[in-house]
């Protein structure tokens, strides 16, 4: 093949991330440096979420010799010099399309994740494995620049396209000086200061290792965290009860003890009205929210909570006997029930609402007498008994992990409870079988992935 004069570049981004702006900057940079630039794209129209690809070809004007080169409208595997990806899975998509080849391609990618709808809507953890994609990138690319560009945006207030431009410039893959890129940003005259800061952050970005999974907590760490939390949730006696409940498992496998210590703490800190009120009236909360929504000093923050007290929660919160009677009382339910059918907007930055929540939180002193406590406590006792009486550590672990199926509030919680019961029942039915561990685990995992509790009997699992 004759000596190659063109440079080819593909940008993979999500709609709305400014792939078009990046493309425009690159056109400007190229043309002002005496390169012929062709650019094209298959973007969606107006919608903002799909994957888009922009493709550019640069050809030196000096090599034109009064002829027009034939430039291609789409990238060809083996022919792409540079791939810029705005997000790690988009880099993955470039890899899958064969655009990144070891002989030729410089890959510049952000390592942060924007989760796809399938990942987000999975009831449990449906997220893709970033490390696999990054490994493939290291294997396939001739050179790699990979770092968290979103973090650079957050710290500079720039658009991610400016960070991408900076990273591309810093990679040295294009024959243009830094000033050429910065001039292009200035000429576009939009958010120039922020974008220049983002560009600089991108320019300094180098291939960074992505933090792997955090190392799992030790049993001691878990117990310490649990006791702190139980003390806050109720009192020191409650924390002592936790320790006493764990004691019979001292001789069991380390994994079972660790997981049970974790799930028991979660079971004993179920989210009731008092707990929610307590969490919403912590002193540190305002600062957390200000950071989360990026309120700046001098700006005033007002916070409105979306709460939906239900009839059931009223019953749950009353002393057990009274609560149970009220639960069955149809007359009262018809009378007072309508008060509990609407959601409430509670402005916790107002004094009255805050005081009310404080009052509700303080009701936790009476928690041990409430209907909900009686029920949760009984459930915990029988769950622990089932785990205790299961001699096989692996099978007992499955029971301990079943607690993770309990999530949410209201109907969502009820569905979680049905899933939990399904696992407990399956264990009872299958425990004598040789493949019991495999079957119960498969059931638990499929329940964790699915939204609805199955109506099928445990034995058919």
């Amino acid at each position: 093949m004759a000596e190659r004069q063109r440079i080819t570049l593909a940008v993979l981004a999500l709609g709305g991330q400014g792939g078009g702006v990046l493309s425009d900057w690159l056109i400007d940079v190229g043309e002002r440096s005496d390169w012929l630039v062709q650019a094209t794209s298959v973007q969606g129209v107006a919608q903002r979420t799909g994957a888009t690809i922009y493709y550019l070809e640069f050809f030196p004007e000096a090599a034109l010799d009064a002829r027009e080169p034939v430039l291609a409208p789409m990238p060809a595997p083996g022919d792409v010099d540079i791939v810029v990806a705005s997000e790690l899975m988009e880099a993955g998509r470039a890899l899958l399309r064969g655009l990144v080849t070891p002989e030729r391609t410089m890959l510049v990618t952000s390592t942060h994740r924007i989760y796809a709808i399938a990942e987000k809507s999975a009831p449990g953890d449906g997220t893709a494995d970033s490390s696999k994609v990054l490994d493939a990138a290291r294997r396939q690319a001739k050179a790699l620049v990979a770092f968290d560009m979103q973090a650079a945006c957050d710290s500079t207030g720039s658009a991610i396209s400016a960070v991408m431009l900076g990273a591309l410039a810093g990679s040295g893959a294009l024959p243009f000086p830094r000033a050429a890129y910065e001039d292009a940003i200035r000429r576009s005259a939009i958010a120039v200061e922020a974008n220049l800061a983002g560009f600089a952050a991108g320019f300094a970005g180098r291939d960074e290792a992505v933090p792997g999974l955090p190392t799992p907590l030790t049993l001691e760490d878990i117990v310490a965290e649990a006791e702190r939390r139980l003390g806050e949730y109720q009192d020191t006696d409650y924390a002592a009860l936790y320790r006493a409940r764990l004691a019979p498992f001292a001789h069991r496998s380390p994994e079972l003890r660790r997981e049970l210590a974790r799930t028991l703490a979660l079971a004993m800190t179920y989210e009731d009205v008092m707990r929610v009120a307590q969490l919403k009236t912590r002193r540190a909360r305002e600062g957390e929210i200000r950071a989360e929504v990026r309120a700046e000093p001098g700006q005033i923050l007002r916070v409105t909570e979306y709460m939906h007290p239900r009839w059931q929660e009223l019953c749950d919160t009353l002393p057990a006997g009274l609560g149970a009677r009220l639960e069955r009382n149809r007359f009262l339910r018809r009378l007072i029930g309508p008060l509990f059918e609407r959601g409430r907007h509670v402005r916790t930055t107002d004094i009255g609402a805050f005081a009310l929540l404080r009052l509700l939180a303080s009701w936790r002193r009476a928690r041990r007498a409430t209907l909900r406590f009686a029920r949760e406590n009984a459930r915990i006792e029988s769950w622990l008994a089932a785990i205790r009486s299961e001699p096989d550590d692996a099978l007992a672990l499955e029971l301990a992990l079943a607690q993770d199926l309990l999530k949410g509030y209201g109907d969502t919680h009820a569905r979680g409870m049905a899933k939990f019961e399904t696992v407990i029942a399956a264990h009872r039915a299958l425990r004598s079988e040789a493949s019991a561990v495999k079957k119960v685990r498969a059931l638990r995992q499929s329940l964790a992935r699915g939204e609805d509790a199955p109506a099928t009997s445990a034995a058919s699992a």
Binding site: R67, V70, G92, L95, I117, Q299, R302, Y306, T349, K407
Partner: protein
């Protein structure tokens, strides 16, 4: 176009002779129309040609100064019917739309204009939405060109060529009295490049001249006996005239050497990709100096038999690179060669795929096989990196509703209603709302075309069972849905529910104005209420919900529509402004006000990470891009929790959903007061002091 300005693009249209034009392919076509002395332009927006419509909409002064009439047609049929102006008068006219769907809609008028023939040049510019990025059924416009006998230009994707083909297209149309189609693929429409401009040409004869001096010729009207005459004319006069024009003007090109035993014939629009594939196989270079003879069909229809015969005569085989199916060109080549008794083998779909886009990779594979079979040459294989280990990791990213989209709460409400009343048959339509068929909503059974949502449910009569639900956008409603859907349902005594999504724009095509748009428009008449139109065709049960974010109200109205004893069609009009366009208008305004020191309040939502349990039920009822997940900060919990990122526009749906479905107490609305007043500050001081005393931990 209420919320976007195309002033910069309009400036490019004013460039004079010798100036260098730089911009997108479709904008180059727009400029080329003015350079060709076009007298009138119409069309219907849609990817990938929206830009042409948008820029002309913003170019009123320029167009007026050139005496060019421009119209945002009600539909492609309306646009095609405009070409009637070129039948009797020497007026050059152009219409534009997304194809093949727009051509489907336009085909009645196209058949008529093609039958009678034209006096002035008539150009139909189609954005061929085929292959990657396409949102429609994969068909070819080529079929329409053939069946109505309109010539089809398929220029190679290079701006000078595209511009030249617009001018040549008008001349061809006039020389052969035949409408001409100019086909541009998606990438060609968006192709940024350059060409040397010419002066704009004011039409010598304008639409006003025509209207002032009407000409009538019954032989141009499709009615017996003229219709039979037209068919003869097409074959005996117009076709030979076209072939002669194309040959004389050398609209088709030749690359590479003259001789050789094998060669390639390629559609013009595919040439650049083909050349790249050849280059990667060491068979061409950056300037198209191919080592094999290549014949480029910038005119895809009709073929020029003399040229084909000359190219094929001494060759054993030619490869025809023709994208899509049926392979009309391949068929025609075979016919030409048989009639000439030439034994050149035409190789096409036997080695190139019958379906799908012809990417460089596809072409390279096909070329390798062609060379192996017909010249015994083995070429180096294309690199094929093994990435199977990540195939399962990289998730699909279907397009979806934008952050804060007002249509999302509508489908949330439908989800809630269907939970109560059971699943209904849902006939979907074309527009952003069609994203309901994807996760997380999974709502919608069929879609039959733009504005046809209601008609698509019309087989389900008799309201004794569950009522089918039809969804229609405001764009589709005015395009044809008012008559084909609503009028049809009234006349046929349907009992169905139609939900009209009224977001004030033709949103999916880029936010163009339509009759029911709320913004004032100096050049169009807007603010025509959909409810008035619906009642006007005889619907009695109509409810307008002017705030779609009120999920409970939306749910209650839908429930009523599905359960009411009232007979006849029910129409719910769900009205809230397209968030993308609203933000385009309001965001810069907000920034300006804040800078000016005005007290402004910005709302956004957040998730309390301490109370979120990670069940993601909220996400399954929303799917908002800003509502996402993050690793669980609680060391005792495993699954990711919900999280609202900073792109949140504060539409409030998260909170409404958690209320309507009694989800959880984790959502909060944070209102940030910019430039607070002294009163704000005093109250805030008091609140913080008191709350500081009450708070714990």
């Amino acid at each position: 176009m209420a919320e976007r300005s195309f002033t910069a693009e309009v400036e490019k249209l004013k460039l004079g002779a010798g100036a260098e034009f730089r911009g997108e392919g479709i904008l180059a076509v727009t400029k080329a129309l003015l350079q060709s002395g076009v007298a009138y332009v119409g069309g219907y927006q849609g990817s990938p040609i929206s830009h042409l419509m948008d820029v002309f909409s913003d170019a009123n002064d320029l167009l007026a100064s050139l005496d060019v009439h421009f119209e945002q047609s009600a539909s492609e049929a309306a646009a095609a019917a405009m070409l009637a102006a070129s039948v009797n008068y020497p007026l050059r006219g152009a219409v534009v739309w997304k194809s093949v769907v727009g051509t489907n809609v336009a085909s009645d008028a196209l058949s008529n204009v093609a039958s009678g023939g034209v006096t002035g040049g008539a150009l139909v510019i189609v954005g061929e939405d085929y292959g990657e990025g396409s949102s429609i059924m994969q068909e070819r416009t080529h079929a329409f060109a053939m069946k109505s006998q309109m010539w089809l230009l398929d220029p190679r994707p290079s701006l000078p060529w595209i511009v030249d083909m617009v001018e040549k297209g008008f001349e061809l149309s006039e020389a052969s009295h035949t409408p001409v189609m100019l086909e541009l693929r998606v990438r060609a429409c968006h192709l940024y490049g350059r060409f040397t401009a010419k002066d704009n040409v004011r039409p010598a004869f304008t639409v006003r001249h025509a209207a002032d001096a009407p000409v009538r010729d019954t032989e141009r009207i499709v009615l017996p006996p003229a219709n039979f005459l037209h068919e003869r004319e097409k074959i005996e006069q117009r076709w030979p005239a076209a072939v002669d024009f194309v040959a004389r003007n050398k609209l088709n090109e030749r690359f590479g050497p003259d001789g050789g035993e094998i060669g390639i014939i390629v559609q013009g629009g595919l040439f650049n990709t083909l050349n790249r594939a050849l280059e990667l196989m060491d068979l061409s270079d950056s300037f198209g100096d191919a080592k094999l003879p290549v014949y480029v069909l910038n005119v895809a229809y009709p073929l020029i038999p003399d040229e084909v015969r000359a190219f094929c005569a001494a060759k054993r085989a030619v490869l025809i690179v023709e994208e899509g199916q049926p392979e009309f060109i391949e068929h025609e080549l075979n016919t030409i060669l048989r009639r000439a008794d030439l034994n050149t083998r035409v190789v096409g779909k036997e080695i190139l795929p019958r379906a799908g886009e012809y990417t460089a990779q596809v072409m390279r594979d096909g070329l390798a096989q062609f060379l192996r079979q017909w010249s015994g040459v083995e070429t180096a294989p294309a690199p094929a990196p093994d990435t199977s280990d990540i195939a399962k990791e990289v998730p699909q990213r279907p397009a979806g509703f934008c952050t804060g989209c007002p249509e999302r709460p509508l489908f949330t409400a439908m989800t809630l209603v269907q939970r109560e009343l059971g699943q209904h048959h849902v006939s979907a339509d074309i527009g952003c709302h069609l994203f309901s068929i994807l996760p997380p909503f999974n709502i919608g059974n069929t879609t039959m075309g733009y504005g046809l949502g209601t008609a698509g449910a019309s087989a389900f009569k008799r309201g004794d069972g569950k009522r089918p639900i039809a969804v229609m956008g405001d764009g589709g409603f005015w395009h044809n849905g008012l008559t084909s859907g609503i009028g049809n349902a009234v006349f046929n005594k349907d009992d169905n529910l139609t939900i009209v999504v009224d977001n004030f724009y033709s949103a999916a095509t880029g936010g163009q104005d339509i009759p029911s748009s709320q913004a004032g428009n100096k050049h169009r008449s807007t603010r025509h209420a959909i409810e008035t139109a619906v009642r006007g065709v005889g619907v009695g049960w109509v409810r307008s919900v002017d705030n779609t974010y009120d999920v409970r109200r939306m749910r209650d109205v839908l429930r009523e529509a599905l359960t009411t004893k009232t007979t006849g069609p029910k129409v719910v009009i769900a009205q809230s402004e397209c968030m993308l366009n609203k933000q385009r208008r309001e965001r810069p305004l907000f920034g300006k006000q804040v800078k000016a020191g005005k007290r402004m309040v910005r709302a956004r939502f957040g998730v309390d990470e301490k109370t979120c349990t990670g069940d993601h039920a909220c996400i399954r009822l929303s799917g908002c891009p800003s509502l996402t997940i993050k690793p669980n900060p609680d060391p005792l919990k495993r699954d990711p929790i919900a999280h609202v990122d900073n792109s949140c526009v504060g539409c409030g749906l998260c909170g409404e959903v958690s209320h309507a479905d009694v989800l959880c107490p984790s959502f909060y609305k944070a209102e940030i007061v910019f430039n607070p007043s002294w009163r704000d500050r005093a109250l805030d001081w008091l609140r913080r002091r008191t709350i500081g005393l009450l708070a714990h931990g």
